[in-house]
Symmetry: C2
Subunit: 410 residues, 2 copies
C-alpha cells in the first residue's frame, strides 16, 4: 500500500516532466500532411536558397560603377544587350557599359552587380538612359541570402507551422520525419453515466459529457482519439476494459466518478494497469483536487475529476503538457497567456492553486478578465468562458484591477 | 476596361465583408467530428440539465429544518431510511426527521431539500448524528441549474470548441448541423517555379514554396485544400487550369508572379473567371501591395504576391477573413492579438499600412515584440517570427517602448 500526499501544481508538473517522453517511432510524412506534427530530427539544408542571385525588382541589370553620378539632368547611357527571362539561365555575360532587362525574381547575369529599377530608366531603341546611380548589390538578393548550405533550418522537437513547411519546400524536401500523433483513449466511468444520445433518461441518469468535451480538447491538442465508451462501477469489468483500451493507445484518460467510492475504485484500477502505477493522487487545486496521475510502463494514465468543468481545467493543466511530451515537443510551446486585468476581488486559500474561469472583454483601457461563476459541474459556464486565471498557492486572493495572465481554453 | 485605385486595408476588409458569405449547404456531423466546425442553426435545449436535483457532495439528504441549531455539542438525531445509488431513481420519500445517504451526483429524494456533508455527521447504526445545520438548497444542484428547457445554448455562426460540444452532448444531441469546411484551391504561377522535390534546379529556377506554406495556413484556418500544381505564363493554359480548379473549390488562391508582366496576366485571368471580376487591385500595405481580390459569381479568388513572406501576411490579412465568412462564422472571432512593447523605432510612410514581422520575448517587465528584418522574399525570417505588428496608415512610425498589438501567425 502506497501513501500519497496531495501535490502542488508545480510538483505535479515536475513529475510529468520527469516521467513522460515520446516513445513512438518517427515516420516520414509528405509536407502537405505534416502541419502541426513535431520534427523527429534536425533539418540541415543541402543547398542554398535562393540558388542563384536574383532581382528584387523589375529593372535593368548593370555594373553599378557605370551608373555613378547619373541624374535626371545627366543620365548615364548604356547598351541594352539582352533580356533575362523568368525561369531561364542568364546566358549573356554583362560587360562594362551594358545593361540587360531583368524581371523581379530573374537570374542576375554574370558581370552584373546591381539592378536599376524600371522607374529610373528610359529605353531608347537599343540604348538605355539611366537617371539614378546605384550601389553594388542594390536590388539584388544574393544566392544563399535566405539559407546557406549546412544551415540547420529547423530543430528536432519543433512543431511544424505553415512557414516551417515553406522552408522545407524551399530546400527541396517534400516530406518531413516526424513523430506520429499520440493516440489518446477515453473511458467514461460511473453507474449514472449514459451515452449522449439516449432518448429518455431514467431517474438518476446523466449523459456522458466528458468523453465528447475531453475528446475534442485532445484533438485540439494534436492527438488522435479512441472513444472507449462507458464502463460501470464493477472492478473486473472496468479493469478489463481499461487494459484493452490501454493496449491500443499511448495515453489513457479515465473520466468520471466524483463520489468517494468511485474515486477509490479508479485508484485501484490505475495501480493495477502496470508499473510504477499511481504517481500523483490529489493535487492542491480548486477545482480538480481528486486528480490522479499514473504511469503504466511508458504510458501515462490520468483519472480526471467527474465534473465537466473541473475535467476541462485539469486537462488543460496536466494532460496538455503530457501530450506535448508524447508528441516529441522539446522546444518551449509559445505560452498563449494574455495579459488582462481582473474585474473583481476573488478570495482564495493559501496553499491551494485556484483556477477561475473568465470571459475576456476588450474595454477602452485594455483587456479585462471577468470571472464566470458557477458550480464546477456546470458545463454552461465553460461555454461562456474564454480561459482561466490562476491564483497562485501563495496568494490569499486577487484584487479588482490587478494584472492577471489568462490561459486560453482554445 | 476597369480602372482601379489602390485600396486601404480598411476599405479592402469592408469589400470582403460586403461581397462574401457562406454559400455551402449545411450538413449533419457526429459530435466527435464537429470540432472547429461552424453551427448552421441556433441550438435550443429540449430538456433541462441536470435532469433532476443532484447532490454536489457525498453526504446525507435531509430536510434542512431538522438540522437547525445542530452543533458538535448538541447534534440533531435523524433516522436513516435509505441509501441513494448512483444512476438509480430515489424511490423512497424522505419524511420529517429522516436522512438518506447520497453520493456526489446522486439524485435528491422527494421530500429532501438539502444535503449534510459526510464530514459533519456520524452514523450510529440506523441513527444519524448531525453536527452542523444547513440551509434549504445547501449542496444541491437543482434540476435545470445548468440548462433550462427552451434555452438557446449555442447560436448559428458559432465555431464549435470542445466545451460547446460538451453542452450539445449534455442536452442529448449526438450530432450538430454545421457548414462544411470551405474547400480552397491553390494554383502556383510563374515560369521560374518548379515542384519542391525537383532534384536539380536548372539556372533561374526556384522551388514552389507558397503552395505548401499557404496550403498549410489554409488548413490551419479550417479549410480543406486542393493543390492545383504549377502553371506557366501562358494565358490559355493558365485560364483553363484556373477555371478547372475553380469548379472544384469554394475559394481560389493564385500564388506567384512578382514581375509586372505576370501580375498583369493574373488580372486578366481573374477578370475572365466570372462576374463581377476584380474588386481590389492593389492594397496600400507593405509588404503585399500587388494583392488582387476578385469574385467569380459567388466564389472569391485572390491573387497573392509571389514573395513567400508577403504571401503569408496577405493570407492572414485578407484570406482568413474570407475563409471565416465562407465557413459561416457570424460571431466575432476572438481576437488573438497580444499586447507587447516594440523593441526599437520603426519608420513608416503615412498613407500605407506597414506589417512588421516580430518575434516575441517574455522579459522581466512584460512581453516585447522584436522586429525580424529581411527582404520580403526571405522565408527564413518568417520562421523566426511569431506574428506581425501593424503600423497604421495614419502613423509615421512607432517608437521603441511603444505598446503594440501582435497578431499571431499560428
Amino acid at each position: 500500500m502506497k501513501f500519497f500526499n496531495v501535490k502542488t501544481v508545480r510538483e505535479t508538473l515536475a513529475i510529468i516532466d520527469e516521467q513522460f517522453r515520446v516513445f513512438a517511432e518517427p515516420l516520414l510524412l509528405p509536407l502537405h500532411e505534416a502541419l502541426g506534427m513535431v520534427l523527429a530530427e534536425d533539418v540541415t539544408s543541402a543547398e542554398q536558397v535562393p540558388p542563384f542571385a536574383r532581382s528584387a525588382v523589375d529593372g535593368y541589370a548593370v555594373q553599378a560603377k557605370d551608373t555613378y553620378g547619373a541624374t535626371d539632368a545627366l543620365p548615364a547611357f548604356l547598351d541594352i544587350t539582352g533580356r533575362i527571362e523568368m525561369g531561364k539561365g542568364a546566358d549573356i555575360l554583362l560587360g562594362e557599359g551594358e545593361a540587360q532587362y531583368i524581371p523581379t525574381g530573374g537570374m542576375l547575369p554574370s558581370g552584373a552587380d546591381g539592378i536599376v529599377m524600371i522607374e529610373h530608366v528610359e529605353e531608347v531603341g537599343q540604348l538605355l538612359n539611366v537617371f539614378r546611380q546605384i550601389a553594388p548589390g542594390e536590388n539584388v538578393i544574393r544566392a544563399g541570402d535566405d539559407v546557406q548550405i549546412g544551415d540547420v533550418v529547423l530543430r528536432k522537437g519543433h512543431r511544424l507551422r505553415p512557414q516551417d513547411l515553406g522552408v522545407l519546400a524551399a530546400i527541396g524536401h517534400n516530406a518531413a520525419r516526424v513523430f506520429p500523433r499520440p493516440v489518446v483513449g477515453i473511458l467514461s466511468t460511473g453507474d449514472e453515466v449514459v451515452p449522449p444520445d439516449k432518448a429518455e433518461l431514467a431517474p438518476g441518469e446523466v449523459r456522458d459529457i466528458n468523453s465528447i468535451a475531453i475528446g475534442a480538447a485532445a484533438q485540439q491538442a494534436g492527438a488522435e482519439v479512441i472513444y472507449g465508451g462507458i464502463v460501470h462501477d464493477d472492478y473486473a469489468a472496468f479493469l478489463q476494459r481499461a487494459r484493452a483500451l490501454l493496449e491500443r493507445v499511448d495515453f489513457l484518460l479515465l473520466s468520471g466518478g466524483s463520489s468517494v467510492g468511485t474515486r477509490d475504485f479508479s485508484v485501484q484500477i490505475l495501480e493495477a494497469l502496470g508499473e510504477p502505477g499511481v504517481l500523483v493522487h490529489g493535487v492542491s487545486t480548486k477545482p480538480g483536487k481528486p486528480t490522479i496521475i499514473a504511469r503504466a510502463e511508458q504510458k501515462p494514465v490520468i483519472g480526471l475529476p467527474g465534473h465537466p468543468a473541473s475535467a476541462m481545467i485539469i486537462f488543460q493543466l496536466f494532460a496538455v503538457p503530457i501530450l506535448e511530451r508524447l508528441s516529441g515537443m522539446t522546444n518551449d510551446a509559445r505560452d498563449l497567456r494574455l495579459d488582462a486585468k481582473i474585474s473583481r476581488n476573488i478570495a482564495s486559500a493559501v496553499g491551494r492553486s485556484d483556477y477561475i474561469r473568465v470571459k475576456l472583454e476588450e474595454r477602452e483601457d485594455g483587456l479585462w478578465a471577468v470571472p464566470v461563476f458557477g458550480k464546477s459541474g456546470l458545463i454552461s459556464t465553460l461555454v461562456e468562458s474564454d480561459g482561466m486565471v490562476e491564483i497562485a498557492a501563495n496568494k490569499e486572493g486577487i484584487l479588482a484591477g490587478e494584472n492577471v495572465k489568462v490561459q486560453l481554453f482554445s
